[in-house]
């Protein structure tokens, strides 16, 4: 057992923390360059996710809902469920591929029905909500009424302009839709900007999460010398990068460098 302050954790948890920290740093090593340590960590993650998925599928679904009733409770009819399951695998047989089409067709039909219901329930209320009053409603007055109407006017202008942009039955160079479609394109740009900003926040949050793990969960349980060595290595890597003479790159290598994951 290891302890710091009032927190006591077991050797098993210490190993987990070290594994988490090493894998985190190994994955981040890709940011410098593609390398075998990153590849190893990537394969470990994929293998773990696959193994864990199989385990959870068996322990939380197949065993309690299918195997136990069939084998231990005498509900033999659960064995029939194997038949439609196996029908999917005929997709690999050239002669008997029609068998897989039966079950695939049934599945597609089922999900199409669900999708239709989902679409109607999700988007029709949105269409209803887009009908907004452009005059103060009874009971509204003063600055509140003005701001409500102003918001609604902006909403309707943006809605019409963006719908105009996606109206392709008329050439966008025609006078009737030219300006509306152009305005719609600008509004779409604003929306994409908002999405980009939100995506940056999401990606930064993931990075912050790993840094916080290293600082809050991992750091209290490692000796000080580890951090001195780690900081020394980072400084050495930065110095090497800055001072190492770089060979001239060929044009195709430069292109590959540009296309590297960012």
């Amino acid at each position: 057992m290891h302890g710091i302050g009032s927190v006591i954790i077991s050797h098993k948890e210490i190993i987990g923390l070290w594994a988490g920290a090493i894998c985190t740093l190994a994955i981040f090593s890709l940011l410098y360059k593609e390398n075998p340590v990153y590849r190893l960590a990537e394969h470990v993650f994929i293998g773990l996710a696959m193994g864990y998925g199989v385990f959870i599928t068996w322990s939380e679904v197949l065993q309690p809902k299918w195997w136990d009733p069939m084998v231990n409770k005498g509900q033999w009819w659960w064995a029939l469920a194997i038949t439609p399951g196996l029908m999917y695998y005929f997709i690999y047989s050239k002669h008997n591929v029609w068998i897989s089409r039966i079950i695939l067709g049934a599945t597609f039909g089922f999900f199409s029905g669900l999708a239709f219901q989902g679409f109607a329930n999700t988007y029709i209320p949105m269409v209803g909500a887009s009908f907004k009053p452009l005059a103060p409603t009874p009971g509204e007055a003063g600055i509140g009424a003005f701001s409500s109407v102003f918001n609604n006017v902006i909403f309707v202008v943006v809605l019409v302009a963006v719908m105009g942009y996606f109206f392709f039955s008329i050439d966008h160079s025609a006078r009737s839709v030219r300006h509306t479609a152009a305005l719609g394109r600008w509004f779409l740009m604003f929306a994409f900007g908002a999405m980009f900003g939100a995506t940056v926040m999401a990606r930064m949050a993931l990075f912050i999460g790993r840094v916080d793990f290293l600082r809050t969960d991992f750091a209290p349980f490692v000796p000080a010398w580890f951090w001195y060595v780690a900081i020394g290595l980072v400084i050495a890597a930065v110095l090497m990068y800055l001072t190492w003479p770089k060979p001239p790159t060929k044009p195709e290598e430069a292109d590959a460098e540009e296309a590297a994951p960012s």
Binding site: E60, K65, N121, T122, A202, M204, G209, V211, S262
Partner: protein, 287 residues
């Protein structure tokens, strides 16, 4: 001119290093003290939870909230603080709730976190909260819950016991259909909230609080505007704002400073990159 044109071909590793510095420094030294404003969509979510019936409600009003866990390790940093903030609010108010996992890895991640909070706040499993077993299929599970919750969800996660065992799980007493849910909280990195809206929110009139990752936030405002959801915690900042509403300082609040500095750096880099690009264009056209 040389420096400005260099900005166009700056090594991405230098940018990563700068990013690491602006993220790590505010986390270790919380020098940035910004006021966390509680935005309307977060306040609406908070107020909706404040109105939920507690476990001591009369039998006819008794309902449970459900936290749908769709996240895994990939988006844990964003989604888990959202879930944690709401769980703390539920426990504080005495709102009974169950966690319903749809992600294999998220099953354990969510269970461990709620269990840890429950121990901190002296809450009892089976009475104040419950963890349902992992559900492999999403849409059909929601549809089936509309008519029978205990049969659809089957067993709990801790004891692998049937949910119909109300002696062991008094929290499930009287819970028959999805109409007995007081609220659904959808914590997700994917576009899964329309299914909740469609099968449970619209048909059973159950209020929904949406907790998306940052990438999904812009879409969420459509649902909010159409009153299909009652509130939203947009990404990690949403969790930080909810923590502010609760008067607590968790991971999301700690991370808010780093989020701000990283956004400032990205904006600066975009501006510098564009300046460098136009300078390079001008240099090429003049030579």
């Amino acid at each position: 001119m040389g420096f400005l044109t260099y900005l166009d071909r700056i090594d991405r590793r230098i940018m990563y290093l700068l990013l690491a510095v602006v993220v790590i420094v505010p986390l270790i030294f919380p020098i940035i003290r910004q006021k966390t404003e509680i935005t309307p969509e977060v306040m609406k979510a908070y107020e909706a939870v404040e109105k939920l019936p507690t476990k001591d409600a009369p039998r006819k009003d008794y309902k449970i909230a459900v936290i749908s866990v769709f996240f895994g390790p990939g988006t844990m940093a964003e989604n888990r603080p959202q879930m944690e903030a709401l769980v703390r609010h539920f426990f504080r108010r005495g709102v009974p709730f169950g966690i319903l996992p749809f992600d294999q890895a998220g099953t354990t991640l969510a269970y461990n976190k709620v269990d840890q909070i429950a121990k901190e706040m002296n809450k009892e499993y089976g009475k104040d909260w419950i963890a349902f077993s992992w559900q492999p299929i999403f849409d059909q599970t929601l549809q089936a819950m509309a008519t029978n919750v205990p049969r659809t969800l089957g067993r709990d996660k801790r004891y692998n016991a049937p949910l119909t065992d109300t002696k062991r799980f008094p929290i499930m007493e009287g819970i028959k259909t999805a109409g007995d849910f007081s609220m659904v909280v959808e914590v997700t990195p994917s576009g899964t909230v329309p299914a909740w809206i469609s099968y449970i929110g619209q048909t059973k009139k159950v209020p929904i609080v949406y907790c998306p990752t940052g990438v999904m936030v812009p879409e969420g405002y459509n649902f909010l505007d159409a009153h299909q959801i009652v509130g939203m915690l947009p990404g990690l900042m949403g969790a930080a704002r909810y923590e502010a509403a609760l008067g607590e300082k968790g991971f999301a609040t700690r991370a808010a400073g780093s989020l701000s500095t990283s956004h400032v750096l990205i904006i600066v880099l975009i501006i510098l990159g564009n300046i460098g690009y136009f300078m390079s264009l001008r240099q090429r056209s003049s030579s």
